[in-house]
């Protein structure tokens, strides 16, 4: 129960942070990506603020023997830079640039009732399922679909 409440709290904080940062407005996001046009660098400060915080906090958190409300830490174990990583990131970037939505802000936008987000989210979930179908068939092309989702 504690673990579920903690996750609910973290998710809420994440959504509030995205809204404060204006990551949830696709027009702002596309402006940030429009380096060769009407470039708005403000969102770089979002990544700066977030990674500065995680870099310090993760250092101390991972020194603990275990998390507060779970049995163990599950951190990504893969170390190799492989084709699925680079190809997947490249494909993700195309979708991000086309719509101005990445997964978190799209879900928050859907929560706010934004029509474009409500259309985007089911397509995104379908895309994830489509990859898993392909991955089952082409086991060698992608990592095994049995690998935990937390493998960031």
């Amino acid at each position: 129960m504690k673990a579920v409440l903690a996750a609910l709290f973290s998710g809420a904080l994440f959504g509030i942070g995205l809204a404060i940062a204006r990551m949830t407005d696709p027009v702002v996001v596309i402006g940030f990506l429009d380096v060769f046009g009407d470039f708005d660098p403000t969102l770089a400060f979002v990544l700066l603020g977030a990674t500065m915080t995680t870099a310090v906090a993760f250092h101390f958190v991972t020194r603990r023997p275990r998390p507060i409300a779970a049995a163990d830490f599950q951190l990504p174990a893969t170390r190799t830079i492989d084709l699925p990583l680079v190809l997947g990131a490249a494909i993700f970037g195309v979708g991000w640039g086309l719509a101005g939505y990445c997964p978190g802000p799209a879900l928050v936008g859907a929560g706010a009732g934004a029509e474009t987000a409500l259309l985007f989210v089911p397509a995104m979930i379908a895309g994830g399922l489509a990859h898993r179908l392909v991955a089952v068939r082409l086991n060698r092309w992608s990592a095994s679909p049995e690998i935990p989702a937390s493998r960031a």
Binding site: L8, W96, A99
Partner: protein
């Protein structure tokens, strides 16, 4: 307030959220991974924390957007919007992460994989905006 200061503040809140999830649940706050985890069969406890995280994200984030009077409409036309959704879902599943998992958490862990992923998706998104908004005159 300065817009860059607000952006920095929003970033810190996001970072605190990811830190809280690691501290309490021992898990990485990667939104694409959490969503994909919900669509597969997994143990009840694993499913429960993921569902709770997404429920908090959608409800509190959606409410915050209303309170902040935020507009949120993608400028992409319907077919492009749906194609973009499929690409984001497929790509983040294949590449094991998105802006949160590789960006916020991976960079904070000084992961080489995440560093490569962030550079790759930033570059491909920048090229995509360049092509659609400038070379093809706002086709998206």
């Amino acid at each position: 307030m300065n817009s860059w200061f607000v952006a920095l503040l929003g970033g810190v809140v996001i970072g605190l959220s990811a830190s809280a999830l690691l501290l309490f649940n021992g898990r990485i706050a990667g939104v694409s991974g959490i969503v994909n985890g919900l669509t597969r069969r997994s143990a009840g406890a694993e499913w429960a924390w993921r569902a709770a995280f997404i429920a908090g994200l959608v409800s509190a984030g959606g409410l915050a957007m209303h309170l902040l009077h935020q507009a949120t409409a993608s400028p992409a036309r319907l077919p492009v919007l749906l194609l973009a959704g499929v690409l984001v879902g497929f790509g983040t599943s294949l590449g094991s992460g998105c802006t949160s998992g590789h960006g916020v958490c991976g960079l904070g862990r000084f992961s080489r994989r995440s560093f490569v992923a962030v550079l790759t998706f930033m570059a491909s998104a920048i090229v995509t905006v360049l092509l659609t908004h400038h070379l093809f005159g706002g086709a998206a």
